[in-house]
Each structure stands twice: as C-alpha cells, then as structure tokens.
Symmetry: C3
Subunit: 356 residues, 3 copies
C-alpha cells in the first residue's frame, strides 16, 4: 500500500462522516460512514501514540501505549455516559472485553494456526494475564451478586461501585509499575525481545513536535467521530429492532476495536503470537481494570453516578470468554483448532445476544 | 474366558430380554433383563465397530470409532426423544457426561493408582480436551442463561437450540479433521503410539464382509434392546418413586456406558492411562458436542423440536464434573487419591439427585 | 524477643479477659480483651501441639498438627453451634476459608515478593491442593444448589448435609493416609525437605509429659476464651450495626487465624514459600473438609442439626477465593503483584460484606 493512501482515506472518511452528520443525512448512512471513519481515526490515533511513545522513552512510552490503546473505546463510552445511556455503556464494555478475548484472539490464533502448525509464547505471562482476568471478573461479579441477593440501597450500590472502581485503578497502576518498573526485565525476557515484536514496529517516527500535534489532532478527531457515531445508535436500534445489548456488545465493540483486530492478526501471521496475545488479552484487561472504573468516576463527576452492576448475561458472557481464553492460552501453545473454539464461543454468544 | 462365552451370553441375554418384553413379564424383571442385554449388545457393537474400522483404514476407522462409540446412548436417547420424554433425554445426556468424567475416569485413576504410584500421560492433549470441555459447558450454559433471565419466545428458544446444535456439530467435524488429519501426527506422538494402546487392541479381526454384517446386526440389536429398556423406565419411576432425573442421570447412564467402564479401567490397570483418559473424556465430549446436537436435529425432523435448555442442576452437575476432571487431568499425572476425589464428587451428586 | 515475654503476655491477656468476662465489663472492652487473648492462646496451643507432635513421631505428629491446627476456629465454632447461631458459624467458616486463601496467602506472597523477585514452590502439590479446593467448593455448592432450586424437605436437607459431611470426613482421612502414608515420600520430595521448612521448626521441645499437660491446658484455655469472645458478638453486632455476616466472616475469622497469619508471613520472608502456601491453603482445606463436617455432626448429636447450606454470597466468596488462589499458585511461582491481587480480592469482598 502506498504511503499516502492511509492519510487520504483518513481525511476522506472523516470529512464524509462530518458532512453526513451536520447535513443530517439518513441515520443508517451516518452510522455506516462514522463507523468507517472511527476505524481509520483509531488507526491514526494508534500510530500517533506510538510515535510520541518513541520520543517519550520506554517507560513513559509504555504507559502512553497502555492508556491511549483503548482511547477510542474510552471516548465513545464517555459520550454514552454523558447521554446517560448506562446500559449501552456496560454493553459496549462487555462487548469490548469479549470481542478482544474471543474475536481478536480467536482470529489471530486461527489465522496464525493456518500458517504454522503450533505457535508458542511464554507461559509465565499467560499465567499472570489469566490471574488478572480472574480478578477482573471478580470485581464485576461480586457487586452484582450482592446487588441481586440483598436489598442494598441505591446509594450503597454507588458507594460500593466507586470503591471497587478505586481499587481497580490502584491495581492497574500497580500493574504498570510491576510490568514496567520492578519486573520489567523479567517480563521482557519471557516475551522474547518484547520491544521488537510489539505492533508498534511499523509506526512512523515523525519529529517530536509533529508527533505531539498528531496525537492531539487524533484525539480530537476520535472525539468528534465517536459523538457522531453514538448519535446514530438509538435510531439504529429503533429502525432495525436490534436490542441495546446487541448494538453495544457487538456492533460498537467490533468497530471500536478494529485497529487492534488487524494489528493482532498480522502479528500472528508473522508467528509473533506472544505479541498478538498481549494485544488481545492486554486490551481486554485495560477495559475491565482501567476504562470501566474511569467511566464510573467520570459519571460521578458529571453528577449522575453509574454503578458497576452489570446484568447477569453480561457477566456470564465475560466469565465465559475469560474461562475459554484462559484455558486456551495457559499452556503457551496454540493451533488453528483452538482459534476456532474461541470463534465458536463468540458466535454462540452473538446469536444469543441477537435473539434476546 | 473362553472365546464362545461372550457370543453365547450375548444371544441368551438378548433372547431372554426379548421374551420378557413380548410376553409382557413384570416390568422390574424386564428392566433388569434388558439392562443386562444392553451391556452385552453394547460390547458386541464396540467390537464390530473396531473390526470394520480395521478394514476401513485409519482415518475412516477413527471416524467410525468416534461416531459408533456412543451408539448405544444415541439409540437409547432416540427412543426417548420419539416418546417425547425430553426431560429424561437431557437427564441421560447429563448422566452420560458426568458418568464418564467422574465414575469411569475416577474408577480408572483409582484402580490404576492402587497398582502404580503415579501414572503419566501427555499434557498437551489433556489441555486440548480441557478447552473442549469448557466449550461444551458454554454451549449448554449460554442458552439456558438467556432462557432463564429473559422472556425469550418458545420459537426463538428452539431456533437458538438448532443454531447452537449446528455450531457444535461443525465444531465436532472440525475436531475430527484436526485430530485425524491436520494434527494427527502431533497428537499421535503425544499419546505414545496411540494406535497400540487404544481399547480396540483386542478387537476381533473378522473378514471384511462379516464385519459389516456384524455391525448392521449389532446396531439392530442395540435398537431393539434400547426400546425395550426405555419402555420399562416409566413404570420403574412410578413403582420405586425414583425421579426421572435420577433414573436418567444415573441408572440409564451407567448401563449405557458399561462397555466404556470396563475398557477404561482395564487400560488404566495396564498403566495405559493416556488411553483410559481418552475413552472417558473423549466419550463425554462426544455426548456434548455430537450426540446432544444430533438429537436436537432428530427431534426437529420428527416434528417436535427439543430445545437445548438443560435444568439448572443438570448444568451444575456437568460444570462441576468438568471443573474437577479438568483440574485433576491438567498436570498429566494421576494417583489413587485423585481417582477417589472424582468418585467423591460423583457420590455427592448421586445422593443429591436421589434425594431431590 | 526474650523467651519469657510470650508466657507472661499469655497469662496477662488471659486473666484480663477472664476478669472482664466475670466482672461483666463493657462488652466492647470484653470483645477487645478476649480477641487479644485468643491470639496468644492460639499461639500457645500451636506450640504445645508441635511439641506433642515431636514426641509422638512423624506420622501421628502430622495428624495432631493437622487436627489441632484449626483447633481455635473449631472451638469458637462449637460455642456458636451450641448457642444455635448457625448463620454466624457458616459466616465464620466462610471467613476462615477466604481469610486463609486471600489475606494470609496474599500477605505472605506480597511480603515475600518485596524481598525476593520470584519465589518458587513445587507445582505438583499446588495442583493437588487446587483439586482439593475444587472438591471443597463442590461439596458446599451442590447441596445449596439443590436446596435453592428444588422443594426439598427440611429433613432431607439435614440428611443430605450429614451424608455430605460424612463423605468429606472420609475424604479427609483418605487425604491424611495419602499424604502421610502412601505418598509421604512423593510429597516430601516435592516440597524440598518439608520437615525442615514447616512452621514448627522453632517450636519448643519440652519434655513429653509437660508437652501433653501444656496441650490439655492450652485446649482448656482456648475453650474458655472462645466462649467469652462469642458471648460479646451479639452485643457487638447490635451496638455497631455490623451484620452477623461481616462479624463472622471478617472479625472472628481474622482473630481466629492470627497465629497462622504470622507464621506464614515469616516463612515467606525467609523464602520458604512452599511452607507458607501449605499453611494458608492447607488450613483453608481443613476448615472445609474437616472442621465444617465435624460441626454438622456435633450439631446433630446436640439434637439440633445444622445443615450444610451456605448462603449464595458465602458460596460466591469461597468460590471467588478458590479461583484466584488456584490461578495464582498453579504455576508454582509467585511475585509481589500476585500477592497484591489476592489482597485486592479480599478488600473487594470485605467492603461488599460490610456494606450489605
């Protein structure tokens, strides 16, 4: 692909999406155009983050990667929170987690497995990721359990949500300091020259100031496109009879994660399965341990606290995704059939969410 | 045991069972006689399948083994479906899965463990089996979850059941092509000359035509005996006050799996634990991924679609069996105490099902 | 610390607690004093048991260790059973299990991890412990499931409870004979000279008769102090508005396990992580497989059978603790972040139990 195609497509899709929004074109068309724009803008944001990270040095760079990695999801979710669409926020967080653990990871393992008989990656990091996934489920599951089995007041539910959110953010900060400071080398060793295999490898290295400018520009663009996209969702659910759950958990999630999808699959097909697993699993962990808690605090500061109580089927979907992903990654070896199993579980969940 | 004993016993028990049925003897006696006959006929079917498999070549042979392995359960279940006893079908599928994972595997590990301090088998296949078990639970669990938490119409439930059943059958076909074509050698290596240790080793090698004739004969006999057996169950539940759940999940399942039981235990006592694990775990996977979906399609073609919604305690029983079996097999080493733990879980489930 | 401090503190706290009880001091003060006394008396009981074990020889000694290890919890629970406070019994058993798996294990791994980058212990025993934990959950979970989904009579529930309790005690006896007789050496090898690293290493070796006298004295003291402590709990829940659940699951459990806490953490900081894990995990297994069933039989002989049906949130708390502890220990290596994760889960549960 020629170098100028990507910026051109970025500009065209962004402008088309803007025109569609302000000229108030048909909502279905607006949805399609802003969806396409989100994919390109998210990719641009990813490259800009990489470039800033390059200049910021490894540690701060890693942190920037980690926090901007899910920026598109975070910003989309912010607008959903602002509009008080809490159910769709939770559905889209759910969708993002299961989308990464089942669709992104499944496609990566399947595609990689078609080219390579068995693909290996380090068991230690897989185990650590598995434990973090379990903690993420627990943090979502326990409040819901207490909410469903006890007559807990609305205020206590919100207080509990804020406390749990706080605990998760602290855990996430501790994870950053663990993986980037105290046990940096320990984890670097195990992923075989992690820096080389990260998806960032082909990121453009613009000059420092340009990079920062691009990062600001990309964030602003993501913010706009996300708002345009969110604006169309309600019409969409009405017009096509999709449930909020299905739109949030599948449509929004797939669009918001498009950049990760392609990066992970390309890495897997280059036999860099460790990096592909990290993108998919790491991204879903960020959603649960950082994005979700931040949204709860954001809603609190906006004056209308969103609680952390997910619905039973959302929790089941997340638990199911974690169990199968943990089972498949824990031996540090994958093959095409294991990728297929992840896709099978995604399909079963998708059909179920659609039919409800 | 002399060679002629087995055919003689087969004939005698079959004829006695037939006489009992057509002369309309006491139903309890009919139940006992047809149960004994099922055990022998299932053994005969097993040997006939082996023999045909021998002539059919390894690949087709493996497929025949896989599909005829649970033929007795499948045929018993067909008659239950035909009579519309959907609850008992699901109970017997549940019983077959937990019977294989807890009773067959538990007795094998316990008996083998009394003779050998530690018995080893390959970890890779154990991990793969574990992931398949998780997928099997998910496929049963997700529809039930949606059914119990949402007001989903009867038609949508049946549609979802058919779709999930279709997905499972495709997954099973993919598993066959994975384990018998693309990764045949990979899995053969890990089970140490798999062909030699399979239970099939003592299967008689009759001539080709005779084998096919025997296979047809055995299938017909299983069909008859299964129908006679099923006919007595309702009287049995009425007369002894057993619940359908207990009869389906424990009595029918133990009888239907008798052949696997003895084969797996004998292999374990010969220190061929890998093969014993494969019979027990493989058989339970077949029930969940192939037999159950086929029965749903069969019921659809009979005009009265059985849904895939299992009761909560059936799902709990299956989940419980999968978790403990996965935990015990995943390190690729077993001892007598681990066998005992599986039997303990079976006993707890059995007592609970009996008392309800 | 000078040698005479501990006996002096033991005597002073015991006497103060006695005075507070019989002079009927303020209940909050009584609670504080008897709590402190329990900690010292439990420590004394621990050392006395060690000393008797030393003379009794390894096998019987191991058995004494195992059965007296949780003597304080057992005796506290006896008095709760006697007063018919079944809900608080179950809450305190729950608290003891999660306290050991999350707080004791978490602090040990965290404290050890601050001193050592990675701490290793044997994978085989970790796997076996994991399977036992799963069986423990199943034994608690299955009766509750049947109780909640079926109209099972009160009598049948108690019968089922007694049967399950009997099965668990037999399993525990089998575990003792497995780990101390048939596979003693197998497990000794894997924990690297287990005898040397057990917490017992600094236990005083008094003369034989003195040791037995001390053991009797310590048991009597524990019995008294426990009764005084239990007597204050109800006032405490009334005065401070704590729920029975929170008092039982957090306050009583932390006090009753204080001795284990310090022993395990000290071992972890000496890089004897295998022994620390065994104290924490082994203690929680004893509670589930031995203490809880014994209490059910005790209540039966007292004429008012306590059933084994735990509440949903107790089961969730136990399941959650088992899953994360199993996930973190199963690779046989720990670091400070994994300890933090266990503490995070304990904190989430604690806040939730407090707010309900």
């Amino acid at each position: 692909m020629k170098k100028w195609i990507s910026p051109a497509l970025l500009a065209i899709t962004f402008i088309l999406s803007a025109v569609a929004h302000y000229a108030n074109w048909d909502h279905t068309l607006q949805f399609i155009l802003s969806s396409i724009a989100v994919v390109f803008v998210a990719g641009f944001l990813g490259r800009a983050t990489e470039s800033v990270a390059h200049y910021a040095g490894q540690r701060l760079g890693g942190f920037l990667n980690a926090t901007f990695g899910n920026a598109a999801e975070l910003i989309i979710a912010f607008f959903l929170v602002k509009e008080g669409l809490f159910d769709m926020v939770k559905a889209s967080l759910t969708g993002s987690i299961i989308g990464n653990l089942l669709l992104v990871l499944g496609l990566s393992i399947f595609a990689g497995g078609l080219k390579f008989k068995v693909q290996n990656f380090n068991v230690t990091l897989a185990g650590l990721n598995g434990s973090l996934m379990i903690v993420a489920i627990i943090a979502l599951f326990v409040p819901a359990m207490f909410f469903n089995t006890h007559s807990i007041t609305d205020e206590d539910t919100k207080l509990l949500s804020l406390i749990v959110a706080g605990i998760l953010i602290v855990s996430y900060m501790a994870w950053l300091s663990f993986s980037m400071i105290t046990h940096k080398k320990y984890l670097e060793d195990v992923t075989d020259k992690k820096d080389e295999v990260l998806p960032n490898e082909h990121a453009p290295v613009w000059s420092r100031n340009r990079s920062i400018l691009y990062l600001i520009l990309a964030t602003v663009m993501v913010a706009f496109v996300s708002e345009w996209l969110v604006g169309t969702l309600e019409t969409l659910t009405e017009r096509f009879g999709f449930s909020e759950l299905f739109v949030g958990a599948f449509l929004v999630a797939i669009i918001g994660n498009a950049a990760e999808h392609s990066a992970a699959i390309l890495l897997a097909m280059k036999n860099k399965m460790g990096a592909a697993v990290e993108i998919a699993v790491g991204s879903s962990l960020q959603i649960a341990l950082f994005v979700a808690p931040v949204l709860i605090f954001a809603s609190y500061f906006m004056g209308n606290t969103m609680d952390i109580v997910f619905t039973t089927i959302e929790l089941v979907a997340i638990a199911v995704a974690v169990f199968i992903a943990k089972s498949i990654t824990q031996d540090g070896a994958t093959n095409w059939y294991e990728g297929l199993l992840l896709l099978v579980v995604y399909l079963i969940l998708g059909v179920s969410f659609y039919l409800v």
